[in-house]
Symmetry: D4
């Protein structure tokens, strides 16, 4: 029941077309989102303008294609952690789908237009972190932010990080992607005064325990201004970064 | 060596007052921050305007007082996880210190002036989470943001959360503080379109494992837009929330 | 806004006393629980008849007393993990409060009347598990169930367990409380055909890791019919057991 | 030795047909279950009416088929976590076997007749949780309960959950299946007054640690009325849910 | 009901003093241990000759004293992890109680007589492991074994261990007690051909994680012949060692 | 340098054939085992009579075959965790090799003759534990013990376990093999007065965490007399059981 | 900007060729390493003489080949954890590449010349640890150290370790490689007075938890002089060992 | 039996004073260390020159005093993790004992003379890490190394670290002490070409899990040249650093 239907109901109550008791019953069962709670409206508009995001992991190519087919007409649709096989299946139902190989990301439909001059900077400690970083960067771009990249600037060679200080200082939000000990987030955060979203990655071996070491390192960051998302969750970081970036607008 | 000193040095090279070789030596040893790398300037200004933050845990009252004494003249100074004993010691050296009992937070000096209409909303799942929440709220306030509170609105009674939907929808950033399973962050994030900073707390017992359960739950949030700080790290959440809030300005 | 108020609103719409637009606005902001969603009504009735439960851990005696004072007039109120100090404070504001020493449980007000012949059986592996078991048993009793006890019947001496087979076979629900390896739940469950609610306890030392070993053991139970609550969560087990028991009624 | 045989033995002692010493020996070795301990009788009847359940994981198709062949004549038989290859092998020995693809569940024989009007409701947070949910639902159905489903109603979009409130409020028992942070169980439990059996799933990646995050979240549920089974253990949840549902009968 | 009583019952059946039906009833409820199942006989004799063992941890001095008072008349009684306060309370009810300070062990009554020439050897890596080692040694002695000790022979100084090779080679069973990395068990086991019972201790700090590192090390021992008991469980090791030693008798 | 060589050396010193200084040098470098330290003699005899044991995991078939080829002439040789491919390679170099499929165990050469009437009993909780159990049983048999088996007697159906009480009570040592919660070891140990060697298995899924749950459960056994080896380490349990069994000889 | 360029800049300031303001700008942006900070010079020389090291894990053969192609002209280049497929790809772009099969290590270019008489000794507990050990040994050799090996000298047979005492006592640094309980490092360290670098390996199964047990064991080493690198990180150990060895020079 | 005694024995064999058989017996039992195995000689000299080190944790003041009393006459003696109470007890038996309050370190006797120009540098991330750092520094000094300190130079403010680059570049070995995420070790190691010994500390709260986060971070360091000791093990780091430093001698 949307506001129009509610309006209509009240009209009918007023005109006596339906009794109070029946109106009461209808209202009692009225779907929650229909009474105008802003979030849900927003949620709908989000769904329309951007669509939901499909996590391909644990779904067959056919299942993903089926979901995308249903969602794509409603707006831009993303599918994360997608293999080439999944893309092949998606392409059958959505010919305009684009596949970002490195990121394992499928985007169907146009990105949200960029309305802000500011940008999201995605940095990585190593080259092995790039797939997750691309997932973040492409997500941010698809959601209406400009994204800059500075890859392979890990703390074991500080000069590499210092070389990209301009990019660091100009960003509205920074996504720091790192596996192993995950120290990049703290070091970067100590150099800037903007939010740093840390993404631990499962890059590494042995006591990296699939990203646990990086996750714990980042959560314990000694530098305020750092917050953390799930291991390998480039999508989540890009989504959040774009959310903040679009709010901030141009940086002065 | 600040830019003025660098300018002066170059003047002296130009005038021949000092030789090139000596200038070379000085430049070689020149403290990094002195060549104008913006962050460090910013860092200084941050130190001046706001000062560093002392983590009292693991320090004696005298040690904390000693540090505060040195820092307070430089600007507003905060000390976190402070016991009443620590406050007694700090008050000796900083008579204008204020103690936020619930938050275990000492603030010396004036808060950064609020320049934005938007606010940070701090929500908690239970009453046991309030100390950490107050740490977040007071930190945000001290750093120049308005902070609103909505406490004890955990997901086991959704109506409590839904009752404060206006506060939720009006916020620029939300800090969600919860122990046990930490579900509050996901539910809140699903209702709004602003960044949610999740703070797991060590509230609970048994398999909460000192906040580990809440931390893992929040990091695995099924709702994009959530990022996480350390267990009980209200300060870090408030700092980051204020960072974002001040950037955003008024929300339209 | 309760149903009566909603009825009144519709009456006014019908009579033209208030316009449709204004009615729309009021309905839009109408507190969720007021439109008659059964659960919330039930929730209210639950609150009235039984009251909420206060977890004392992490609260000062004064805080607990304050909460109890506010809640006790609304119905029976329980406070769990309560020390004698907490009870002293509670007694000041609720003279009829009773303290169950072993269980660390405060009950204010009358128990829900028992309306079913069936009973909840609480068994423990050792004597060290009794405090948690009493928390479960008293909770079940307070919530309207008869509770039987069979303590110190751990699997290292099967004959002790077999000796109480009548109690086991007569129960509607069994709460199995055990620390260390938590094997009691599986063995009991294999002997009966009723739900077994397993409560791991932090009893033990070394590799019991505060109850983790028992928790994992119980979650991995090889016997279907077992489900698990948090370590030391006697309250949760008693609550759930009573919920089931009251539904079942007499056992045939 | 069953009661009849025991009776016969005593007769012979009385008549002097066998001596006391020999009777003593026989009694000494008397199988425990034969002296009428109800559970074991019940166990036998359970075996007859329902049969045991084979966990296929870690067994070859031939091994599973061999076990099913032996058990199927005794009553309805289930095999869980079964691959299509296992089903092919089972079909050779039990032509009436049915395979539930999504659930990976083989059922041989007729379900237990449904004798109660009440139903078990199985809800999932996401689509990835459906295989485990189906394992629960089909198990409950096979064991004599009606099962309803409400899938993909995770807490990140509360309106989806609220949309199925009627199903929620009408259920006798609810099985809540969720991976990632497992918040669904708490939220659902807060809306109803029936037992909620939480099933953590291994859906997710990174810090979900194969379902550990969801398991911890559910065990720490802030809502009483929730208990937990093993990760991905849809069978166990369905079994327990049906156990409770059949006991309760019609809900008033 | 012991064998004599059973004999008596059968006599009465034979003589007609009691009817078959009544005999049947008595047998049906006959306590399990009474029908002569050897273990339970042994259990009784164990209880009589040796008594149960009380884990003091988590019990008040009064509770321990109460248990000991009830058990001591039945045979030798031990109480482990006992503080001096507990001993004071026990001494009130059992004046002949002896307290082994280092081991935190109370023994009431005479040790089981030593009937074998062989001995249990208890070795420790460091001096900090001695309390746990003494718990093992005194337990073995109380249970009827001779115990030898070789303390502070950790692997960081092999010569210390090699110096006691005669003791090592002469033992029937060896209890190896070590914290930190727990390497002692493997090294000792590699030098002998008798069972080595490894006891990890909580000695150490940091990444010893309360004995977890030693436990894992010992469980992973590269030397066959090693098995492990719980962290700090000297009692369990001494009990098991004596069990084996008494069986073996003199070593040739 | 063996005792004979040492004798020879001393002869030469006595006869003056070699000087004291040279003798001193030779003795200084004398391999440790050559001076008659009993263990090492024993070790040699063990190597000769039984040979070392090859863990195939992590070695290629060719590597295992190479090692077996070198060792087999010295005595009976075992290779554990061997795939059929490994056996094919081993058979090329040791035609008399036998492969125990279930156990994944290769034995080359004759078993050590059985000289004791007593036996090792291997019990399992489920059928999935049988491969590990067979590894234990065949190892014990190869090392000179009689082995009995009682499989699938898990605690969820106590009657199955009680049915084999004669086997339990007659054993010299019991190896209890169980995955999931590992409760079997405690229950068995409570029924007998012989050592129980517990083997946790990786059977199970979800929160069994590859056998961790069973390992913790067994280490925390509430029944003294239980000790534990590594997860899936049937070989180690069989080795240790045979070590004890051969020592004990006939049980009286 | 190198020192020469800086000198040139100052010359131009002195001569007035460029103004102070422009010089200031250039200095402000001057790449950090160019002002002569020793480390970065060293880093360059390191890069030239030795090149960076590529971790192949998580990269495709083509990606590794691409990186090697770019780096090889600058100096000796290593690629670790390389499969034969990776080597095939690398060989296309670097025909002089050598592949160390056991170590999974590719080396392109000449090793750093050996300038010291001392050597690095690499020891392993078992044969399964050899791949990691070879990674360490070849790395040390490539970096300019002589490397000796002593493999399969685990602590379960001390005589094997004692047999290689000369090698142990002659080394400048020892790399101790061991899985399972990792006891080798402590035992070796107790026999020598040189640094021991411990490398835990993922060799083992069950509770070795992929090397965690060995890691914890080594970190808890009771012998001072031991430090630890990541699980399976032979490269890191060899690198560090060579670093120390080259510094020490000949050992007296 | 020392070399002189061995010489004497051989003399007597030569002269016929004792027979070969008797000589054989004596040699067979000859204590291992007496035949001149260098390490043990060294060990003795180490004990004489430096003495052992007492870990006070878990020992009573009297026990520590007793050990020190026995050891002090043999050479310099250290006691770590010592409380003031322990020091009071030690002072009674060793009046020349010195107490390093911050480090919790007692030193009895003179430090080993410094014979090398090079120094050990101890750096910390924060002020809370200083006690552990002092333990390292004083240990290194006591063992014959010069120690420099650079405290509170954590990576969240890189300029602080860069400010002490001269100290960093001049060191022979660096001990990097840090809690929380432990990033300091990687960053420092990337700036120098000397060994970095990382000491994780238990400083921090929440997800630092008593130093586990820092330990994992340091073990996963992306910079070769880093190795790790136990959490809070300043002594071990200082010992190892001095071992390396004394070997290297002056740095060129």
């Amino acid at each position: 029941m949307n506001p129009e239907q509610l309006h209509d109901l009240l009209e009918k109550v007023k005109s006596g077309e339906i009794g109070i008791s029946e109106a009461l019953d209808r209202l009692r069962l009225m779907p929650y989102e229909d009474i105008g709670f802003a979030k849900l409206d927003h949620h709908r508009s989000l769904r329309r303008g951007f669509g939901e995001v499909v996590l391909c992991k644990g779904k067959t190519p056919d299942q993903v294609a089926g979901i995308v087919k249903r969602m794509a007409p409603l707006g831009t649709t993303m599918a994360t952690k997608a293999s080439p096989e999944v893309f092949d299946a998606v392409r059958q139902v959505a010919p305009n789908a684009r596949y970002h190989h490195l990121a394992g990301l499928i985007v169907v439909g146009d990105p949200v237009p960029v309305k802000t001059e500011g940008y999201v900077l995605v940095v990585t400690a190593g080259t092995g972190d790039i797939p997750v970083a691309e997932e973040a960067a492409v997500t941010a771009e698809t959601m209406g932010s400009r994204a800059e990249r500075a890859y392979d600037v890990g703390v074991a060679g500080l000069h590499r990080l210092l070389d990209c200080k301009d990019k660091l200082l100009g960003a509205n939000v920074i996504v720091a992607v790192a596996g192993m000990e995950g120290a990049l987030a703290s070091v970067v955060s100590g150099m800037v005064d903007v939010p740093v979203i840390a993404v631990p990655t499962s890059v590494g071996y042995g006591a990296s325990f699939g990203g646990l070491a990086a996750l714990l390192g980042m959560v314990n960051s000694c530098s305020p201004g750092v917050s953390v998302v799930n291991i390998d969750n480039g999508f989540g970081a890009g989504y959040l970064a774009s959310l903040i970036n679009r709010r901030i607008g141009v940086r002065h």
